[in-house]
Amino acid sequence: MSPDPQFACPPDPDMWLWLSGELPMADAVAFVTHVSICSACRDRIRAIDSTLAVYTTLPLPDVSDERFEQALTTAARPPTILHETGPSPTSLRTKKLGQWGMRLGVALVLLTLGTVVGQSWSWQSDTRHVENEAREAQSLLAIVLLQQPSAADRLRGITWAEEIGVIELNLRTALAEAVRYDTNVNVRRTAATVLGASNAGTDVAAILARALLEEDSPLVQLTLIEVLDSINSADAHLGIEQLLDGENLDPVVRRRARESVTSNTLREQVRS
């Protein structure tokens, strides 16, 4: 299978245009979508951005006609004979020029330093902006993938959700729906694991506990017990205890649920 063309890496000129805010909106959407999933492109953008920063700190050469004429005159002048005693007007000029040169040099250094610090601050801000955009785009893509007919695509959506790290509310909701309603056992299992690991608070424990009570597949039940056990909250343990009330529970599931309840009871005793 050849890679999807929409996921091809954008060329450098597009990155320059995007950094300068000149990439057309229609292209920018596809661009950001791609960059959100391509670490190589993000690295490349950072490199180009750094290069731009260096260019902006370099002093511009004086290429005016006046300066050019002056250079020609200097080149045509015969060599100057220096007086051995006392400062010559030329040396005085040189000295004065040296003082101004020193001041100019210090000014340039300060200017460069200010520019670099400013650029650095701006670059960090831009980087955060890029990362936020990337995260949002990745969340959106994960949600879209979770709605695909192919179970492999839905698994890929969950994988992306896992890689985002901080899972926003919309994506959390999509994952919760996958845990409860997806038709595929492996998708439900993987979604439960990623949702449980998102550290998203008590609502996740309640959702997973409810999913455990609704679930028919012993494979998914085992995963949910493990995830709820690791969340270790009141909702989580209540869900596992309620599961044990069921009559037609798979023996392995029942054993794991009992183990979880027992270990939680021991933890509670140690705490008290």
Binding site: M1, P149, S150, A151, A152, D153, L155, R156, T159, N184, V185, N186, V187, R189, T190, T193, A197, S217, P218, L219, L222, T223, E226, S230, D250, V252
Partner: protein, 251 residues
């Protein structure tokens, strides 16, 4: 013509035409249909309670289904149509095969570039050969066998073994295989670069590949992620009581 000769002729006629009539009517039904857009890959869904689902990819354009009742005889419905209830429905490139809820085995030929969603519960195995596409299969009390797959698979069983052989592994699409009591065996090209999640409570793990542990956080606390050939596509294998076998096709 003597009675004996006449009798032989009758027997011969019955033998020739009777066999033909049997294969056409008794316990067998056939149906076929093409995808609306032959330039794109299609998808075929089969959800059964009983019987085998055998699917084979071929170079043709039609989806051809043969349903065969495993019990003897073929009770016919009042209108004279086959009681096997075979039909293919759907729109566009998304087709679904329906058949009566009896012990009926299905043999399906599909264009090679077809994705499959297959499930059965009792007294049947799922077997898929020579497919370029996604295969999603679920079997409660039987096995799942995939051969010569160029694509990805997401498979699960409760009591059956899973065996899947891939001619190529897509670098950016995950796969997952899980079972309660079955042995999981996957065969990958020797050059395949994958991240494997391996979890079994009571089974053993055998690998033709060199497995290197990774720092990736585990899906579950009982399993581990391992890298093969530097890592790549994610493949998770989970069995509570079965063994896990990772086989190299070029080994």
């Amino acid at each position: 013509m003597t009675y004996a000769t006449f009798g032989r002729v009758i027997i011969l006629i019955l033998a020739v035409f009777g066999e033909s009539a049997w294969s056409q009517d008794v316990g067998v039904a056939r149906a076929s249909r093409t995808f609306d857009d032959a330039t794109r890959s299609g998808r075929v869904t089969v959800a059964r309670l009983y019987g085998d689902i055998i699917v084979e990819g071929y170079s043709g354009r039609e989806v051809r289904v043969e349903a065969r009742a495993r019990e003897a005889g073929d009770p016919r419905s009042a209108d004279g149509t086959s009681a096997l209830g075979l039909r293919i429905e759907g729109s566009g490139n998304d087709l679904r095969v329906y058949v009566a809820n009896r012990l009926i085995d299905l043999r399906i030929r599909v264009p090679r570039q077809t994705s499959l969603v297959l499930s059965t519960v009792e007294a049947g195995e799922i077997r898929v050969t020579n497919i370029v596409g996604d295969v999603e299969a679920s079997n409660i009390n039987g096995s799942i066998t995939l051969l010569s797959i160029d694509g990805v698979a997401v498979l699960d069983t409760i009591n059956g073994d899973i065996s899947a052989s891939f001619t190529r592994v897509a670098p950016d699409r995950p796969m997952a295989f899980s079972s309660m009591n079955g042995t999981l065996s996957i065969s990958l090209p020797s050059s395949a670069s994958v991240d494997l999640y391996l979890e079994t409570e009571n089974g053993e793990i055998h690998s033709d590949f060199s497995l290197r542990p990774t720092s990736r956080s585990s899906l579950g606390r009982r399993g581990r992620w391992m890298k093969v050939n530097g890592g790549g596509a994610r493949i998770s294998l989970t069995s509570v009581y079965g063994d896990l076998n990772i086989l190299s096709i070029g080994h």
